[in-house]
């Protein structure tokens, strides 16, 4: 028998077969019925074949490459675990950053996995479908590897034991949760702008630098290794987001105003979510990487500015909200940590008053604002704590209907006045932290009237009966263990004890 050996296909050819050769137009059912979701948002696509994925990743290559990376990651995590790597972090206060990160991010990765699976099914173009599928796999892998990384901390420290249970219940988790809920209930093109473009492309460095450099600066080998492992995926995600936006803009000029509106919305929503990251950078990392303000200047003002310059030729403008978000770089980290400090009875992490060195670092990094607006708060609260009257705000927070933050942000141009906007819609009053959140509401009021806001729910009695004690049980927060001051906490004591045991014979 004659055996004819064909030349092996090149990567480019294999990718072409995967993304074009395996696709077909349906004939038993009309395409519009098989793919009903990629047209209703108003985006017009004339030629799906114009989609170009610069990575041209095929399934076999994906599998081989990711398996290799994960083998390395788990080897390091194993070593981290066996050598008590958790004791190498700079200071046990770092664990508050870890708690915030690992309570939120794995579940957001999981939502991203779901969202890209959905988008992959909804697009009729084979190129974006395959790209979404790959990203969907990345996201669920990230969720899994993060949970494995977190488990090495959860074994020893408090506040991480119920992260899945707490995600839909814990009041501050409604901020990132509502962001992803908003995105995943949009159509596939808006999803791509929300997550693929705004989050992964415009804002990703603001997320990555504090987490991964923060981990490296603070001796957290586990999180750092996870970060490096995910980094090559993130590069692909950023490219997908940018490719998608260019594809939409090149396909039809009528797509421009729709895309611009989404960019405006998701840049604002993204910058709001990142206040959590700002707070971690300025307050929760015992060894700071850089200030939030510096990070914003490099990664949003300079890099983001260059990106928007690049998109100018399509008619895209810098979102209006950028001016306010930039003004807020001087404020949000301070406003948010002050909020967690005073509502610390209701958090799964510890807070503290920054020590004198840290206050000086903040003064130096924020010469325009810290000494005038924020240092005196910490000095007042330090005085009160010394007199045995640790400041707690027993008033529960009013929340913004859209971003779901407590209304802690101040008026543009006036850092001494809390910002408030309101409107009536169908006979109901709605309140907002900013003009931009109000505009988002106005554009899709029927969506946001349904917002599940933790504080009104507490009063409705749906969260453990209506009392704060009942709420703690319902949310699975152990008072006196998970919450309140770092000083005197079990985490602080155990870390000191174990570190002592690891470095002495006593």
């Amino acid at each position: 028998m004659d055996m004819k050996t064909e030349k092996k296909l090149s990567l480019k050819e294999r990718y072409r077969h995967l993304t074009r050769g395996l696709g077909w137009d349906t004939t038993y059912q009309p395409m519009k019925d098989v793919f009903p979701f990629d047209t209703y948002e108003g985006i017009t696509i004339h030629d799906w074949d114009k989609w170009e994925d610069p990575f041209r990743l095929t399934m076999d290559a994906y599998w081989k490459y990711q398996a290799e990376k994960e083998r390395k990651l788990y080897a390091i995590l194993d070593a981290f675990n066996q050598s008590h790597g958790h004791l190498n972090v700079t200071d046990a206060r770092y664990l508050s950053a870890i708690k915030l990160f690992f309570s939120a991010i794995p579940l957001l990765e999981y939502m991203a996995h779901r969202g890209f699976s959905i988008a992959g099914r909804q697009f009729r173009g084979v190129g974006p479908r395959v790209a979404c599928q790959m990203q969907s796999l990345d996201e669920i892998r990230h969720a899994q590897t993060q949970i494995h990384t977190a488990s090495n901390y959860n074994k020893y420290y408090n506040g991480m034991h119920a992260f899945v249970h707490q995600m839909p219940r814990m009041w501050y988790m409604s901020v990132p949760k509502s962001f992803f809920d908003d995105a995943i209930t949009a159509g596939p093109f808006e999803w791509m702008i929300a997550i693929g473009f705004s989050f992964e492309y415009v804002l990703t460095n603001l997320l990555f630098v504090p987490f991964m450099s923060g981990a490296a600066f603070n001796g957290d080998l586990g999180t750092m290794t996870f970060g490096f492992s995910a980094q090559s995926d993130e590069a692909r995600h950023m490219t997908l987001g940018l490719e998608c936006i260019k594809f939409m803009l090149e396909q039809d000029p009528a797509n421009l105003p729709i895309v611009q509106k989404w960019i405006d919305k998701w840049t604002w929503r993204g910058s709001r979510v990142l206040a959590l990251v700002a707070m971690m950078m300025d307050y929760m990392l015992p060894k700071r990487v850089m200030s939030w303000k510096e990070a914003w200047e490099i990664y949003f003002e300079q890099n983001g500015g260059a990106l928007f310059k690049d998109l100018e030729r399509y008619g895209i403008k810098v979102p209006d909200c950028a001016a306010q978000a930039t003004e807020e770089k001087e404020h949000i980290s301070h406003q948010l940590f002050a909020a967690l400090y005073q509502w610390n009875f209701g958090t799964s992490l510890h807070t503290w008053i920054p020590n004198p060195d840290e206050l000086d670092w903040l003064s130096a990094k924020y010469p325009n604002t810290f000494d005038r607006y924020y240092r005196p708060r910490w000095e007042l609260w330090a005085d009160m704590a010394e007199q045995g009257k640790r400041h707690l705000n027993v008033g529960l927070a009013q929340l913004c209907q859209v971003c779901q933050y407590p209304m802690i942000f101040t008026e543009p141009g006036n850092p001494s006045k809390l910002c408030h906007r309101e409107l009536d819609y169908k006979g109901e009053k709605y309140h907002f932290c900013s003009d931009h959140c109000q505009h988002i509401f106005e554009n899709e009021a029927e969506k946001y009237v349904q917002a599940w806001l933790p504080m009104p729910q507490l009063f409705q009695g749906t969260c453990g009966g209506g009392s704060v004690e009942g709420w703690m049980k319902w949310v699975n927060l152990v008072p006196g263990v998970d919450n309140m001051d770092f000083e005197g906490s079990q985490d602080q004591k155990n870390f000191a004890l174990w570190k002592g045991m690891a470095s002495s014979n006593g």
Binding site: Y40, Q342, R377, A397, Q398, L418, K429, Y448, V449, Q450
Partner: protein, 119 residues
Amino acid sequence: MSVKAVKEYLGAPRDVVSNFHGNQLLYVCWEGHLMYASPSIFMVSPTMKLEDFLIQMVGPVFKDHPEASKLDWRKATWEKGDKPWAPKLDQTVAENGLVHKEYLRFQTPGLNGYKGLGI
């Protein structure tokens, strides 16, 4: 603008007054006192006298502020929904025309926060 959707899209508002068991929500902000990170949310009976609401529910939230002892509800000036408003302290919440989720902001002339810094 309506939500773009494949069919008619209407949302059910989640915080309508009928969900609060005969009570209603009010939001209160002490302007220029940023020791309190945000305005506070209160659930109150519409038949409660406004002064009782302030003394029994709002006052305790601010009790640890250095200026709390000087806080005189009769001297406060008020805004409702960001517009000037004159409350009648001896009348009820409902008689004052305060509807569900009303936003109230009060100023205390002469009390400018910790060290006069708006804190």
